[in-house]
Symmetry: C2
Subunit: 619 residues, 2 copies
C-alpha cells in the first residue's frame, strides 16, 4: 500500500455542488479516463455495480500496488450476490444460466497464496456511464460487507494508476477510509451484476435508475428536456403552465380520466347498506349489456377503421337493452320486490361542483396565450384512459406543445423540423457516452441515426401522396389495406420509413383528409383536407402532430356542429375567434417517444420513470 508521503497531492478536484464529494464524472468522464488526476485525494460516493476480490501475492501485500494479480471469482456472467428466488426462476424461464458463487465463499485459483483479500469494486454515482474502480483493502473494511451489488459507499482515498495493468481503467481509487456503508439485503435486492431484462426491471421502478441502461435513458431524457427549454428560450417562446385538471375536451374522441372527490363518500355509504337482490335472468341480460358496452367502447377507439363493426355492435347493444326492458316489465308484473340501483352521480357535490377530467392535450388552452403573447409553449403530463394498442402508449405521457400566433402551417412545420434537429444535436453533444452505450443493443449506432436527423432535410409529402406511394407497394401485403381516407397505421409507417424502403429521412406528411384530424384544424380551400401535419421518423413513427388551427369563427362553429361536439364546452375557445382572431399554428411533440427514438428501446414504459399503464400504477 502506498504510504501517504509517497503520494503527490495536487490541488483537490472540484467538489460536487451541495455534497462533500467528487462526482465520478469529474474523474472518469474526462477524455483520458481520469489519468491526469493520479495522486489526488478525493471523497467519492456511489453504488457498487459489480465487484471482484483481488488477492495480492504475499510479497506485495502492504507494498506498492503495481503487480497484484486480480482474481476474478467465477465466470464473467456470474453475479456476486445471491440471486433472488423469483429472479432465479425468471432467468430459468428465460433460458439464462445461473451459477451461484458468493465471493467470500468462492475458491481462489490455486497457486496464489491465500492472503487477506482486497475488494475491487466498480462504483457508479449516476453521473456518467463509466464506473470508477475502487480498491478497498481488507485491513480497511471487510470485503463481504461492501462487495454486494447495490451497496452504497462513501470513501476517501487517493487516485492512482490501477495496481494491475488492464485496458479498462486508466485510474482507480485506493481507499484510505470508509466513511459510510449502506448495506444491501441480498435476499431481497432485485438487481445484480447481470444485465436484467427490461420487462423484469419494470416491477422495480424505484431501483431501475441504478442500472446503466435506465441511468443512460434518464440522462438522455434530461438532455432533451434541457435542450427543449433552451430552444424555446433562444427563439423567444414563453413557457405557460397549463392545467392538468380541465373541463375542455381537446379532441372530443379520447377516453378521459375523471378527477373527483366523490368516490370516498360512496365508500362510506357502502358500509351502511349491503342489500343486493339477485335476479337471474335479468341479471344475465344485464351482464351481457355490459360486455356489449365494452365492445362498443373498444370499437369506438378504432371507429375510423371499422364502422361496420361498430354499427353492428351498437345494434346488438340496443337489442339487448330492449330485451332487458321487456324482462323488467314482465318481472314487475309478477313481483313487487326491492331493487338496489346506482344513484345518478350528483356532481354538484364534487370538489369543482361539476365533472372534471385529466387533460388530453393542452393545445386549446395554449391558443389563448398565443393569441395574446405570440409564441408560447408548454411541457407537461397528458392523459388517455385507453388500453394501449401499441408499446408506444401509456396512460400518462409528457408532451411539449407550442402555439404561435401570426403563423401558418408552413411555419409550424419549419419549427418542428428545427426543434428536432436542435434537440438531437444537443443530445449527441451532451450524451455521447450514453448513446454509445445504448448502441450496443441497436442495429446501428444511435449517434449516426441522430446525426442523420440533424443533417438531413425533412421530406414533405401530402397525405394523398403518401397514400399513393403506399398503394403502389407490391412486395408487401399490409394487414390493413391502405385506402384514401384511411389513417396511416404503424405498419404503413414502419414499411415506409422503418427500413428506409421509401423515405430515407424523417418525413412530414401534411394536408390530411379532414375526417382524420380533430375539429380545430384549419379547413383547406378544397373543403376536404385540413392544414394538419405529422412528423414521422424511422422506427419511432409519429413524433409530432401539428396543425394550423381554424381561425375563422363560422368555419370552426360548423365543424363543432358537424362532429356533434358539446358546443357549450367550446364557447371560450370560440371566443378567441369572436374577438381579435388571427392565423396561428403549432404542434404537440410526444416527448416520451422522442426519448424512445433516441434510445432505440422498444417499449415506452422503459423510458418513463414511473409508467402508468392499464391495470398498473404502483408507487
Amino acid at each position: 500500500m502506498a504510504s501517504e508521503q509517497q503520494v503527490v497531492v495536487k490541488n483537490p478536484v472540484t467538489l460536487c455542488k451541495y455534497s462533500k464529494r467528487v462526482s465520478l464524472k469529474t474523474i472518469v468522464g474526462s477524455s483520458d479516463g481520469g489519468l491526469e488526476l493520479a495522486g489526488k485525494r478525493v471523497v467519492i460516493g456511489g453504488w457498487v455495480k459489480s465487484s471482484n476480490e483481488a488477492a495480492l501475492p504475499a510479497q506485495e501485500v502492504g507494498g506498492g500496488g503495481s503487480a497484484a494479480a486480480v482474481v476474478t471469482v467465477g465466470s464473467k456472467d456470474v453475479g456476486c450476490v445471491e440471486i433472488l428466488p423469483f429472479f432465479r426462476s425468471l432467468m430459468k424461464a428465460l433460458g439464462g444460466s445461473q451459477q451461484q458463487h458468493h465471493p467470500s465463499r468462492g475458491k481462489l485459483d490455486s497457486g496464489v497464496p491465500k492472503m487477506p483479500p482486497t475488494a475491487v469494486l466498480q462504483v457508479s454515482d449516476g453521473s456518467c456511464v463509466a464506473t470508477l474502480q475502487v480498491r478497498v483493502d481488507s485491513s480497511i473494511w471487510r470485503p463481504s460487507e461492501i462487495m454486494p451489488t447495490g451497496t452504497c459507499i462513501v470513501v476517501k482515498g487517493t487516485l492512482q494508476q490501477p495496481a494491475v495493468k488492464e485496458n479498462k481503467h486508466a485510474i482507480e481509487l485506493k481507499v484510505e477510509k470508509v466513511i459510510h456503508v449502506g448495506a444491501v439485503d441480498q435476499d431481497k435486492y432485485p438487481l445484480s451484476k447481470i444485465r436484467l431484462p427490461l420487462e423484469f426491471l419494470r416491477d422495480f421502478p424505484h431501483f431501475r435508475p441504478r442500472t446503466t441502461t435506465v441511468a443512460s435513458v434518464t440522462r438522455i431524457r434530461n438532455a432533451f428536456t434541457q435542450a427543449a427549454h433552451t430552444f424555446f428560450m433562444n427563439n423567444g417562446f414563453l413557457y405557460v403552465q397549463l392545467p392538468v385538471i380541465t373541463t375542455t375536451d381537446c379532441e372530443g374522441l379520447s377516453e378521459k380520466f375523471q378527477v373527483t372527490t366523490l368516490l370516498r363518500k360512496e365508500l362510506k355509504k357502502e358500509v351502511i347498506s349491503t342489500g343486493d337482490s339477485v335476479r337471474v335472468s335479468l341479471e344475465t341480460v344485464k351482464a351481457s349489456i355490459e360486455d356489449k358496452n365494452k365492445l362498443v367502447e373498444e370499437l369506438k377507439i378504432k371507429s375510423e377503421i371499422n364502422k361496420e363493426k361498430l354499427i353492428s355492435a351498437l345494434q346488438d347493444l340496443c337489442n339487448a337493452y330492449e330485451l332487458a326492458a321487456q324482462l323488467e316489465a314482465r318481472e314487475k308484473a309478477n313481483k313487487s320486490g326491492t331493487l338496489v340501483i346506482t344513484e345518478r352521480v350528483d356532481f354538484s357535490d364534487d370538489f369543482f361542483s361539476h365533472q372534471t377530467y385529466l387533460t388530453v392535450s393542452g393545445r386549446l388552452h395554449l391558443e389563448s396565450y398565443a393569441c395574446a403573447l405570440g409564441n408560447v409553449y408548454s411541457f407537461g403530463p397528458r392523459f388517455r384512459a385507453e388500453k394501449p394498442d401499441s408499446k408506444k402508449q401509456v396512460a400518462e405521457m409528457w408532451m411539449i406543445e407550442l402555439e404561435m400566433a401570426f403563423s401558418q402551417l408552413e411555419d409550424a412545420m419549419k419549427c418542428a423540423e428545427d426543434f428536432l434537429k436542435f434537440v438531437c444535436e444537443w443530445a449527441i453533444e451532451k450524451c455521447s457516452d450514453d448513446l454509445k452505450f445504448l448502441s450496443k443493443r441497436a442495429d446501428q449506432t444511435i449517434i449516426d441515426r441522430l446525426q442523420s436527423m440533424v443533417s438531413s432535410s425533412f421530406e414533405r409529402v401530402t397525405y394523398a401522396e403518401a397514400v399513393d406511394v403506399l398503394k403502389q407497394v407490391k412486395d408487401k401485403k399490409f394487414e390493413k389495406q391502405i385506402e384514401w381516407g384511411v389513417p396511416l397505421s404503424e405498419e404503413h409507417e414502419r414499411y415506409a420509413y422503418g427500413g428506409d424502403e421509401i423515405y430515407k429521412s424523417p418525413v412530414i406528411i401534411h394536408n390530411y383528409l379532414k375526417e382524420l384530424k380533430p375539429f380545430y384544424v384549419r379547413l383547406n380551400d378544397d373543403g376536404r383536407t385540413v392544414a394538419a401535419f405529422d412528423v414521422v421518423v424511422p422506427k419511432a413513427g409519429t413524433l409530432i402532430r401539428g396543425s394550423q388551427n381554424e381561425e375563422r369563427f363560422s368555419v370552426l362553429n360548423t365543424r363543432i356542429k358537424e362532429q356533434s361536439l358539446p358546443k357549450k364546452q367550446y364557447e371560450w375557445y370560440l371566443d378567441l375567434r369572436r374577438h381579435g382572431t388571427i392565423t396561428h399554428s403549432g404542434f404537440s411533440l410526444m416527448f416520451d417517444l422522442l426519448v424512445l427514438y433516441a434510445t432505440d428501446l422498444i417499449d415506452v414504459r422503459d423510458v418513463i420513470p414511473f409508467p402508468r399503464s392499464h391495470g398498473k400504477a404502483n408507487n
Copy 2:
C-alpha cells in the same frame, strides 16, 4: 404621406422566428425606444390596447406627417369601446365612473376642420410591456373597424418619428397596408382600455394575458421557469418527470383527488337527461326511444352514405334505453318504499384496477432517482383537494422539487438560498420592464425587494428560537398564541417578516418539532426535533419547505408506525433504506408563490394561467 421614394429603407429589421413579422420588442424594447429604426419598413402584428383619432389639419392631409394634431376623444379614462352591461354594473358597484363615448360617434374639438380621421392605435403583441403606436389613415382602412380594444391587426408600414412630438413614443408605425383585421364583437368582449380589477379578469382566463398585468406576470413566470432549468443545468441536476397519477401518499395528511374511469357511464346518462337534475319521466324517455328507433331505421337505409350519423343515432338509442332502465328501476324502488342507495365502488373495474390519486408531492418518488443518480429535480403540477384557507392556495399548483444524495440538511439549505438568489437575479435581468410596470401597484419597487433577496445573506434560526422571539412580542396580540409545538401561522410570519419587524431578510427556520413535519424527515439526535427547514420571505411567507430525509430503516419504520400510516403503501420507499441507503436532502419550492412574491400580487389565482380552485375549474 411620405412617398416610398422619400423613405430611406435600411436593412430590414430581424424577423420574428416562424412568422413573417417583426416582434414589437425588437422595435420598442430597445433602450432608445426604437428611434434608430426610423425609416425601416416592417410588418407587425398585435392587438389594439387603446386608440385615439387624430384629425390632420386640412393642409397636411396627404402630406408629410410631421405637424398633425392628435385629438383625443373623451377624457383620459374613457374606453374606446362600448362597455359590457355586466361590466358596467360591476364598475358601478366598485364605484368607478363611466362615460360612454364611441370614437366614431365622438365629437371632435371645434376649430379643427373635419377631415378624414386617422386612427392612432396602441398595439401590443405580448413581447414586451411597451406598445407600438400605429397610425392608420382612413384612406387605408376605416378607423371604426380597427380601433376597438382587442382588435387584432397585421399591418405593413414604415417606422418614423411620431407625427406629433410627445414624450411617450420615440417611434411610430405609419401604415401603408393592412394585411389582416381580426375584429371584436364589442358587445361581448370583456376587456377594455380601462384597467380592470383582477377579480373580474379571473372569469376570463382566456383573455387575461391580453392585459398588461397578466402579460407581465406570464413573462416573469417564464423567466423563473427558464432560470430554474438553467440553475439545475449549471449545477449538474438531472430532470426527472414524475407521475401525476399515484398510489403513494407523500404526506399522509392532505385531502387528495381520486383519478377514475368509473364515473364515465353516469356522465352519458346526464347528457341524455338534459342535465341540471331535471327528472325526466319514464314516459318521455320511452317516447324518445320510439323516435330514436325510427331514426336508426331511416339511417340504416342510407348507411353507406353516412355511417357517422348512424353510429351516433345508435349510441343515442342505447343511452336512452339505459336511462329508461334506470328510471324504471328507480320508480319501482320508490313505489315499494325502499331507499335508493349507492352501489359499492368496485375498484377492480377501474382503469388501474385499484384506487389512484393525483400526487400531492413528488419528493418520495424523486428520492429513488437521487439514490441512483445523485442530484435530481422535478417541476410539475401537484394537487390538494382542500378548500383553501388563504389566497396562497389552489387545488393545482406547480412545484419544483429536488433531491440530492450524499447531502445533509445544511446542503439543502445552502442550495435553497443559492437557488432563490439565482432565479431572482435572472428575473431582474430579463424582466426589468415588467417588474417596473408591476411596481406601480406595490409599496416599493419590486426590483429593490428582489435585489435585496439576491444580496442579503439568509438568516438562520431554529424553530425554538423563532418561537422564543415571537413569544417576546408585546406590542401585538396574535389570533393564535404562539407556543412551543404550535406551527408558525401566516400571521406570525407576517409579523416577523412582513413589516421587517424582526428579520430584515429572508429567514430559514430549521429543526422543527417532529410533530410539525411529515414522517420522512430525519429525526435529530435529541429525538424531539427533525432536520426540516422552511424558507420564509417577506410578504409571500413560506416559499420553500425542505428537509434531510430519514435514511435509517429502523427509524423510518418506527415513524411510519407511530403515525399509523398504511405501511404497505410505503414498502417501496422503505426499500430505498433496505438496499444501499445514504444520507440525502432536498426541498419543494412552491413555484406559484415565488411568482406571487416577485409580482407583488395578493391572490395566487392571478398568477396561474388557468387556476383550479374549490368549486371552480372552467375551461
